[in-house]
Symmetry: C2
Subunit: 388 residues, 2 copies
């Protein structure tokens, strides 16, 4: 009897220990902080929003809480997209839609966000798990598919048009390169980092108002080598957490300025890490654009403008530097057109197909010659873009 | 007997289950990938260094593996320091020394890196845990103390001078504001973000060669309100993950350029998020500097230069824009001196004690008047700095 009693006691003990162990495990897996109904500016260590709400007191943002009403779709949760999603999550965005079909690999560990133990998981699944832990106040919707197949593309367009905070409403902003936004008239921001890891850019596209991809070459690295080709040849693009972190930071800063209405929203901002050079400009849409959706959006924009004579999309009107060029695009720029043209060449010693985005114009160089050289290089870029 | 057998079986079962549960927990807590002896450029999904080693093939970095031989000390593991440490860890730096005495709070969640479940842990402990999971090839040394107390300061100096990869050797670079570096002749980089969250900067200080803090006011936000004061008044500084991510990215990019010898290392690079303006310049040390350590380092630098007539620290020699000003500092700048002076004023509507770092010079403004206004503001800044 004594032994039986002892055995039963041991079972009770083990059962309790097991429950505790499982609880601990579950806590570690789901260490969510409680949700917060209303953003507060109270300065206490337990308030995750105090430093953001302080933007109001500092006179930077009028109504920070408004961020909760916005929905952003991030297409591609890679080196830039993942950090972009994390920044928006920490800022307390209302809802994020994430689209990607890739898996996390150890080869991604040279960029921020993903961790080695997530290798093998789908990027959207791993991202949602991390982001929900960081801020459970954000709503997430993830889609683990390739948006370029016919069925998925239809579904994707549907989610962009109806996946708002209130189902049926459109999202407020799409991030990453999606030409379909022209068709939908959807405002979007695009970003990119070069294959040599040392330059990048961000760009705001307002269909009908600013240049789309068919309007103008995206004065960026447009290397016509895709990842698959690189991998097959045992070659891969270089990448750095620094460049991707900077580009994600500039992108989300531009998103915040656009959504919350502070500062000057950049239409195009480049980053050349070799020289710490940051060219910026604005490009208006090209009336002779090849894309009929773009031309239609331009007509609609003109109509709207005529109806509302004083529409303000961007805080500050910049001086038009140059009104006429070979693409019929207006450049509104801080750097001169010659500098911008210089910016796409000459190219240093890089593997075939890799093009540096921009370099600082050489001081005292023969400018006539440089312009010649660059005109060609831009045409080549344009031809490459058209072929895509 | 049957019952006893059954009970014993149940105990065996429970014991096994408990072992499994604890194992799972331990795996989740210590999901370390195996260490990697030698960095390889092999393009396989399982290689965390393939994208970094690709910098060699792209012609950007000659000897990327060299990064393993470098040691960086990060003083302050906050919004910028933590992301800085993560970037260096993902780049595969040899060793990181982390110094901080603060605890993780939910109020830090509006910046990258820390997660809500780490609230309450010391920042260096939480950081080391995360960073070791991300890259177990990096050596870590953490110190959970305030470096400004006498005893800790002595210990800190000792670790800077002896905490290299091989014990006894100095570290290669110190990140964050440590005036003691002048005394040690230790090269360091400093960074900062403004209290209104929308500007920041990075700066490289080579004692004896470039301007130290006593040589010149660090043309930055130098709000003379400390965190404790702000908290007592129920006020806190604003911060954004975007600005801090950009500043950390620019800082670590500069570290990589400096250590691995590519591109142009920036002496001073500012970031004004409101206008996407990035002033950059170089400031030589002031021969009339108040700091005797600085003057001694200047003498030593001159001697060294005389011995080695062709010393190259920075890849590209930039044009000297202005050789003479009120502090006797040479400015080597991309922006004109007038622009730089404009850059520290006029100040928008901000709370007392908060100063914006720089604003874009107003186009067509009466420049004479602006310079007057700005001279005062810089003097005030200098006075504030001297008092610190």
């Amino acid at each position: 009897f004594a032994e039986r009693k002892e055995l039963k006691l041991r079972i009770r003990e083990l059962e309790n220990e097991l429950i505790k162990s499982k609880q601990k495990q579950s806590d570690a897996e789901h260490h969510l902080r409680p949700k917060i109904d209303q953003m507060s500016a109270e300065v206490v260590d337990s308030n995750p929003y105090s430093r953001l709400m302080a933007l109001k007191r500092m006179g930077i943002v009028q109504d920070y809480e408004k961020i909760r009403s916005y929905v952003v779709a991030v297409v591609g949760v890679g080196g830039v997209g993942s950090v972009t999603a994390e920044m928006l999550t920490r800022c307390g965005i209302g809802k994020l839609l994430l689209f990607d079909y890739d898996k996390v690999e150890l080869a991604n560990m040279n960029r921020l966000f993903f961790q080695p133990h997530q290798a093998g998981l789908s990027k959207v699944e791993a991202a949602e798990h991390t982001l929900r832990n960081i801020n459970p106040d954000v709503a997430f919707e993830t889609h683990n598919y390739n948006i370029t197949t016919m069925d998925n593309f239809t579904h994707f367009l549907n989610r962009i048009s109806h996946g708002g905070l209130e189902e049926g409403k459109p999202v407020d902003l799409v991030l990453s390169c999606v030409e379909a936004c022209n068709e939908l008239g959807q405002i979007w921001m695009e970003s990119g980092v070069s294959e040599n890891a040392v330059s990048g850019h961000i760009q705001l596209i307002i269909p009908g108002e600013t240049a789309c991809f068919a309007c103008a070459p995206p004065l960026i690295v447009a290397a016509n080598i895709d990842e698959k080709t690189l991998k097959r040849d045992g070659v891969c693009a270089a990448s750095l957490p620094t460049t991707m972190g900077v580009v994600a930071g500039l992108l989300v800063q531009n998103v915040l300025k656009y959504l919350l209405g502070f500062g000057t929203v950049s239409y195009y901002l480049g980053y050349n890490a070799m020289q710490d050079f940051f060219p910026s400009m604005a490009m208006k849409a090209n009336p002779q654009c090849d894309d009929r959706h773009c031309r239609r959006q331009q007509d609609e924009y003109k109509k709207k403008e005529a109806e509302q004579p004083k529409q303000e999309v961007v805080q500050e009107e910049e001086e038009v530097v140059h009104e006429d060029n070979e693409w019929g695009i207006e450049l509104v720029s801080e750097v001169s057109e010659a500098e911008l043209q210089d910016a796409s060449g000459p190219v240093p010693d890089l593997p075939e197909g890799i093009t540096v985005a921009y370099t600082i114009p050489e001081k005292g160089g023969a400018s006539g010659e440089t312009v010649e050289e660059t005109d060609q290089s831009l045409e080549e870029l344009m031809a490459q873009m058209r072929k895509m």
